[in-house]
């Protein structure tokens, strides 16, 4: 049955309310089971041996002594994994990152793994694995990696996206260009031009739950995996592809997930755990330490960005240009391309050009982090926009409003926009009391806009009406922040029953069809669409059952307020049948009542936000504190407003941490110096003020209730908002993120000196 996803303006009863989340009690009583909270009989403990070198050829690995340690049941190296050297390059890279085959590409890269009866035996065995390395020159800095004499991370990478194709290998893996118009002509028409280089350091998603899984491979080829992941169906496919397993025989169950933010969209240790289990013939539990999480799982790119923007004195941008270099770790991806696409997406520009350069470095493989690549680009562009507004003596919000993209604008990355929300968030910011509140001594105010693509994707749900009329909703998108509550609201709305009568669960891969991951802000957007569709299918069944019960044609039965109604006077005004009544009779009217749905939830639509922030700086120490923060973002329709606010606040907090203190610090030796929460400084409770939110609801035309993804955009503006606020507070433009106290104090000292 085809599903009409078009927005219908209607009065909603359940959607938009704030009921208690169904998994709340489990989570406040310590009963919710996360990745490390599951055990299997006879399970072994796995540990991974990691490279202490940033770049080294693995000459040999001798595991004999380690295998002799009492209690050791299996040891694997890349030699025990399928050799995908001549296969798909992307698949090869994923496996090579899980276990280095020829070279250790970064400090912390896995080179061997042990499964043993306990932690002590595993730890002892790790010490007895002898790896002979040939240490190679390394490069960890994005700009240094571009220099002609930089050590090559890979000698078989030739820059793609340039003509003619280069003949010399390079750390520049790809060049991608976007834009339109003639920027040089545009700059010629400008009265004022701002040109500046920016840098951002590498940050980590910083989820509190380390990666954890329990793998169990049986001798008959069947296997189970319990894992914390943002997408168990994707993990199943990845692990099957990497290890040569049959998809149907690998059953993956997603645990409760202790944060992901993109970092759990990607397999890291799960294939290793499965391979160990296969070799040992026993279940294997693998839990990363915090240090391993930092050294060897998904940080985002460090970047180096040049921006040039020109405008006329009356505030019209005439040309905009950016070159964006994104470090991707040792494996090329498209992080720079994403940065290049998002950089100027908020604006209506006649002449724009962006170039993204994907740079290989000896750092962990970069993976998605909440609106991946957009925050750094927004930092650079929104800083330059602010500076330009100052230069032409125009209010920063007015300047943005004057140049904001709107319906019909040709976006900087190509397509022409439909109805979009940047203008409304800017106008809301202008009218917000925060914008006109007085500032104290040493305080500065900054604001910035952010853009992100939202995604939809493949989605499948089952909705079962139980004998007592309650409903079980089985979904396949992992609940990272309250989506079971939101989806229950959606089912309640569509069926016309109470929220309390819906129980949403996350189904495992053996019991539901394929679902894409909870990423790209798609969880609630896409699964709500599938839930609406499943509910409508269940209603169709219930109408048929009512028709049977009443012995009237199904066309004469309509659904309203949770009841089947017989239409018109000719049916003697029969009393409507409730879901409960229909469910009770289901056994005699055709069997269980259910609605199923599989669909592609496309058309998520792009998302915009505007943030305002006040910062107080101690000019003597460079210390800074966020004293007020406001998030304004379009949600389309907020299904459960508390959790929408939560997404806004959480993204802002992550962005604030990124802007002020978080960074990967590498030594000259190419080793990570701060792989822990002590020196990788995420915001603590006392660092932040309350974070005010304003939810705008501009219906998404491609969703029946107008819902838009909300998860990611909130991390895009903070870097720039903070940079602008600090710069306004101290009178010096801060162009290097994080804007840590030493950087602020150094900038102030430099300014004072001259």
């Amino acid at each position: 049955m085809s599903f009409d996803a078009a927005y219908q303006d209607q009065k909603l009863k359940s959607v938009g309310t704030r009921p208690l989340r169904p998994d709340g009690v489990d989570k406040v009583t310590g009963r919710a089971r996360y990745g490390a909270d599951f055990n299997m009989p006879g399970q072994l403990v796995a540990r991974i041996l990691r490279s202490p070198h940033a770049h080294a050829r693995i000459k040999s690995i001798d595991t004999n002594r380690a295998e002799a340690v009492k209690g050791v049941k299996a040891i694997i190296t890349a030699a025990d994994l399928p050799d995908l050297t001549n296969g798909d390059a992307g698949t090869y890279a994923i496996l090579d990152n899980c276990m280095a085959r020829e070279k250790a590409m970064y400090d912390g890269h896995a080179v061997a793994a042990v499964a043993a009866i306990d932690e002590h035996a595993a730890r002892k065995a790790l010490k007895f694995i002898e790896v002979e390395y040939e240490v190679l020159p390394h490069v960890t800095d994005v700009d240094a990696a571009m220099e002609d004499d930089a050590p090559l991370v890979k000698d078989d990478v030739f820059t793609t996206g340039v003509e003619p194709a280069p003949t010399k290998p390079s750390n520049i893996a790809n060049r991608a260009e976007f834009g339109h118009g003639d920027v040089e002509k545009g700059f010629g028409a400008a009265d004022v031009i701002v040109e500046r280089s920016y840098k951002t350091e590498q940050t980590h998603q910083g989820y509190i739950e380390p990666h954890a899984c329990v793998a169990n491979c049986n001798s008959d080829g069947s296997a189970e995996l319990w894992v914390c992941t943002q997408g168990h169906f994707v993990y199943r496919q990845n692990c099957a592809d990497l290890l040569g397993l049959e998809v149907s025989k690998l059953r993956v169950t997603s645990s409760e997930i202790g944060g992901g933010f993109g970092g759990k969209t990607h397999v890291w240790a799960e294939p290793v755990a499965l391979a160990l289990s296969r070799k040992a013939g026993r279940p294997v539990k693998l839990v990363m330490s915090r240090e391993e999480v930092f050294r060897a799982s998904g940080p985002t790119s460090a970047t180096s960005i040049d921006v040039r923007i020109g405008a006329t004195k009356d505030g019209k941008i005439t040309a905009a240009e950016a070159t964006l270099r994104y470090a991707s770790g040792p494996y090329a991806d498209m992080w720079a391309e994403l940065g290049a696409m998002t950089s100027f997406a908020c604006y209506d520009l006649e002449n724009v050009k962006t170039v993204g350069l994907e740079i290989l470095v000896n750092r962990p493989k970069t993976t998605a982090y909440r609106a991946p690549s957009a925050p750094m680009a927004a930092f650079a562009v929104e800083s330059a926009i602010d500076e330009l507004a100052h230069k032409i003596d125009m209010d920063a919000v007015d300047f943005r409003i004057k140049n904001a993209a709107s319906e019909g604008t040709k976006s900087s990355y190509g397509p022409v926009y439909g109805p979009i929300g940047i203008g409304p968030t800017l106008r809301a910011a202008k009218e917000h009391p925060h914008m006109s509140a007085p500032l104290g001594k040493n305080q500065g105010r900054g604001m910035a806009c952010g853009f992100w693509f939202n995604f939809g994707g493949q989605t499948c749900t089952d909705l079962n009406v139980n004998a007592d009329g309650t409903v079980t909703l089985a979904v396949g998108t992992v609940d990272v922040g309250g989506s079971r509550a939101s989806l229950s609201l959606i089912a309640a709305e569509e069926l016309g029953i109470e929220y309390q009568d819906i129980k949403a669960v996350i189904a495992d891969t053996a019991t539901l069809g394929y679902n894409d991951m909870t990423d790209g802000s798609r969880g609630t957007f896409s699964t709500s669409m599938a839930t609406i569709s499943a509910a409508r299918n269940a209603i169709t069944v219930m109408r048929e059952r009512a028709a049977l019960t009443w012995d009237i044609p199904v066309e004469d039965v309509y659904w309203e307020d949770g009841h089947a109604h017989a239409a018109g006077a000719k049916h003697d005004n029969r009393a409507p049948l409730s879901v409960k009544e229909l469910a009770a009779e289901a056994g005699n009217t055709g069997g269980p009542i259910a609605g199923h749905s599989e669909l592609v939830a496309d058309g998520a639509g792009v998302s915009f936000a505007t943030h305002i922030c006040d910062i107080e700086v101690d000019p003597e120490t460079g210390s800074s504190r966020v004293v007020r923060y406001t998030v304004i973002q379009d949600a389309g329709k907020a299904v459960h407003p508390s959790y929408v606010e939560g997404q806004y606040q959480g993204g802002a907090a992550q962005g604030i941490g990124w802007a002020l203190n978080e960074e990967y610090i590498y030594g000259e030796d190419g080793r990570l110096q701060n792989p822990g929460f002590l020196d990788y400084r995420i915001p603590v409770c006392s660092d932040l003020p309350m974070i005010d939110t304003q939810i705008l609801e501009i219906p998404n035309p491609n969703h029946p209730y107008g819902v838009r993804g909300v998860g990611e955009t909130s991390i895009v503006p903070p870097l720039a908002a903070i940079a602008n606020a600090v710069s306004n507070a101290v009178g010096v433009r801060m162009a290097h993120i994080p804007i840590s106290p030493p950087r602020i104090l150094a900038a102030l000292t430099d300014a004072a000196d001259g």
């Binding site: 989570k27 406040v28 310590g30 509190i208 202790g258 508390s642 606010e645 929460f677 409770c685």
Partner: protein, 160 residues
């Protein structure tokens, strides 16, 4: 290494266990006693996800040896509710949507409980500094602080 026999009190129950000399209280709770509500987020006392109350003081159970539990009185998240009746903090965390992923929640609840026992009427600043050892990456802390404020008010009888 030989095991050590430990007698202790956990959530008002007498508990005996054997543990290795280098085993942390967190590992004992999780791996030997099945009390998995305390989580290991870092193992170095930087995240607070493993918070437990030992002799009235909230501590990181990852920085306590199992052997040190001898003769002590320990409270964990599993003992916070009174049977099926949630503690006001637990209820307010749910009502205020003060958790998203929930991994940090048991630790926050233990720390907040310890706070309200010594300071029934904390200011926002006092709450924020007391809870600074509990990391949350999802919420930005806003709703957590509000939940603690509201629970404190209820426990003082102000908005019953």
């Amino acid at each position: 290494m030989s095991s050590i026999a430990v007698s202790t009190t956990i959530n008002d129950d007498d508990v005996e266990f054997l543990c290795q000399p280098d085993e942390t209280l967190l590992d004992v709770l999780r791996n030997r006693l099945g009390l998995m509500g305390a989580k290991e987020g870092c193992g170095t006392g930087d995240c607070g996800a493993c918070s437990a109350i030992v002799d009235g003081r909230v501590v990181c159970s990852c920085l306590v040896l199992g052997a040190e539990a001898q003769g002590r009185t320990i409270e964990t998240i599993e003992g916070m509710a009174n049977g099926s009746e949630l503690h006001p903090l637990q209820r307010k965390f749910i009502e205020h949507a003060a958790l998203q992923c929930g991994i940090c929640t048991p630790g926050f609840l233990m720390a907040a409980k310890a706070l309200l026992e010594v300071n029934p009427d904390p200011t926002e600043t006092e709450i924020r500094f007391w809870l600074a050892g509990n990391l949350c990456r999802c919420t930005g802390y806003d709703k957590i602080v509000r939940a603690v404020q509201d629970a404190a008010a209820e426990m003082r009888g102000e908005n019953a």
